[in-house]
């Protein structure tokens, strides 16, 4: 009993870890299933059919392609705009700072359903037809704040003496920025960009308000499939995303560990 009490944190921590990972394991296991009916609920037979033919269900890879496209463009634009705002907030004192901070904070404090519907009201009022462009506009909007917050944290933790040292060594402002400041802030920008991509790629609620029947993103496809019957291919794509994310984060960790060793 005292052993349990001493290791309570470890036991609870590991139990929560199981809770976090269980659905991912289920997704992987059921990607090798051959379901008997429309729904992939009970494991009937082992099969690699879905893995050899991931686009086997109509529409699934088109939606995936659209989501990737939107994710890349939206996260790029949001990262550039957000990084600029983060530098302004992290580096400069100016009038209207408090108002700017509020404008950055509000989208994060607004429920997605409110943002999606308000944007739809605007598009209806302006007569803008829904589609790819409106989805992009919405995604850039809700990713922006998260990029600002992520990059700002990195900018704020920057040691100003490093830039002063560069100036002492006769580096111009542009050189200092490109050779000193930017590489130091880069991990924050990368983290912000990745976060923006995953937010955009995963969004259903806002997207559904601003999409047209011809612009079905991957989450919209999954949502529709949840009502009609989920094809095994969805589990395959989910597994690939999980393993891919593991790989990307793991590589990032190794690289940053080696870098800190080198320094």
């Amino acid at each position: 009993m005292s052993w349990i009490r001493r290791n309570l944190v470890i036991i609870v921590g590991l139990a929560v870890m199981v809770y976090v990972l269980l659905p991912n394991l289920v997704v992987i296991v059921y990607s090798f299933n051959k379901p008997a009916g429309r729904f992939n609920f009970s494991f009937t037979q082992f099969s690699i059919d879905a893995w050899t033919n991931p686009c086997g269900t109509p529409g699934i890879c088109d939606s995936l392609g659209l989501s990737l496209q939107i994710g890349v463009v939206a996260s790029l634009v949001a990262t550039v705009l957000g990084t600029m705002v983060a530098f302004a907030l992290g580096r400069h004192r100016f009038r209207g700072r408090a108002a700017t901070n509020l404008l950055i904070f509000l989208p994060m404090a607004t429920p997605e359903v409110v943002m999606g519907s308000s944007l739809l009201t605007l598009f209806i009022a302006l007569g803008v037809p829904s589609g790819r462009t409106t989805i992009l506009i919405a995604h850039i909007m809700f990713c922006l704040s998260f990029v600002v917050v992520t990059v700002k944290a990195r900018v704020a933790s920057l040691d100003p003496r490093l830039e002063e040292a560069a100036a002492d060594l006769y580096a111009g402002p542009v050189q200092t920025f490109l050779k000193v400041t930017l590489p130091l802030v880069a991990p924050g920008i990368a983290a912000g960009g990745l976060l923006a991509f995953s937010l955009s790629f995963d969004d259903y609620i806002i997207t559904n308000f601003n999409a047209s029947p011809s612009s079905v993103t991957f989450p919209m496809y999954v949502w529709g499939a949840a009502q009609r019957g989920v094809p095994v291919q969805i589990n395959v794509i989910g597994s690939v995303m999980f393993l891919g994310a593991l790989a990307i984060v793991a590589i990032g960790q190794v690289v940053s560990a080696q870098r800190s060793k080198a320094v």
Binding site: G13, V16, M84, R91, A109, T110, I205, A245, V249
Partner: protein, 314 residues
């Protein structure tokens, strides 16, 4: 205070002032594109939504602003139960993410040794994979012939599951023998989906916490419980506040969990707003409900942040 300083006459002459003004351009140039985007596509739509909530008309003949406040009272009297339910579910899920996330974050930050990075990756990775697919996986886990049932049958531990169900039934979280399509399943899904939003800020906070403080506390004869209450908890408060806000706000508006894991008895307000906008096409009611939801969340957040006492956060 800050404005008075800015407007005070400068002792260092006009050339310094000119230089000052020129340097002051830089932040505005950096801000302009991002802020314009948020103004046009966040602030203006929010105002347009406010106007929509006070309009009358219909989709065929157009709408006119008639300051019809009754939409609000009608919407509230029809949907107050869904609104209340959303706050209760999201609040419960937030408390649970804190209860689960705190030990996990502490464990990763201070007790996992060389496993630290691997565990952190395992917490972050699900964050980057599809939210919807993982929520659907809970159908497979909790379903009537699902994983949980099969697992307990295979290991002859059905009595554990039955005991758990009895507790849930006593709490009113399931109404019959079914785990899925119940308030329990919805709260379970919400807790699961928003756990990383709690763990990451908590981890960032707890990792910086100096363990020598806990040693000092125990040197001064504080029990572990006292050490936690008087030393660790107050120091981790910024992480707790950030995590609870990041969890509670999106969870209140979420309807993915209540649709996929719940039933008609578990409808949350997001689902109502979504339906009013996209299916019923009653824009004023949907807009009014959106505003009520926003006002409710903002007032809860302000009350909470005041009470928690970390005002620099907002």
């Amino acid at each position: 205070m800050a404005e008075a300083v800015l407007q005070a006459p400068r002792p260092d002459g006009p050339s310094a002032a000119v230089r000052h003004v020129r340097r002051n351009w830089v932040p505005y140039l950096l801000l302009a594109p991002g802020l314009l985007w948020l103004l046009i596509f966040f602030a203006v739509p929010t105002l347009s939504l406010a106007s929509q909530s006070l309009q009358t008309g219909d989709i065929d003949n157009g709408y006119a602003l008639t300051w019809h406040w009754q939409t609000y009272t009608d919407a509230l009297s029809s949907y107050w139960s869904q609104l209340l339910r959303s706050v209760i579910y999201a609040g419960t899920a937030t408390v649970l993410t804190l209860a689960f996330g705190y030990p996990l974050a502490w464990f990763i930050a201070h007790r996992s040794g060389r496993w630290k990075n691997i565990l952190l990756i395992l917490v972050i990775a699900p964050f980057f994979t599809s939210f919807l697919i993982r929520t659907l996986a809970w159908q497979t886990i909790l379903g009537d012939s699902g994983l949980l049932v099969n697992l307990t049958e295979a290991t002859h531990t059905t009595f554990l599951l039955d005991g758990f169900k009895a507790v849930l039934r006593a709490l009113g979280l399931i109404s019959n023998d079914q785990l899925l399509f119940s308030p329990f399943a919805v709260i379970c899904g919400l807790t699961y989906n928003f756990l990383p939003f709690m763990v990451l800020p908590l981890y960032a906070n707890l990792e910086r916490l100096d363990l020598r403080l806990t040693e000092a506390a125990s040197d001064l004869y504080a029990s572990p419980v006292q050490t936690f209450r008087r030393v660790i908890w107050p120091l981790s408060l910024p992480g707790v506040v950030a995590g609870t806000l990041l969890t509670f706000i999106p969870a209140t508006g979420d309807f993915i969990n209540s649709v996929l894991l719940g039933s008609t008895q578990t409808t949350m307000i997001g689902q109502v707003i979504d339906g009013q906008f996209l299916r019923v096409l009653d824009y004023p009611t949907a807009a009014a409900l959106s505003f009520v939801l926003m006002a409710l969340i903002i007032s809860i957040v302000i009350f909470y942040v005041r009470r928690a006492g970390t005002e620099e956060l907002v």
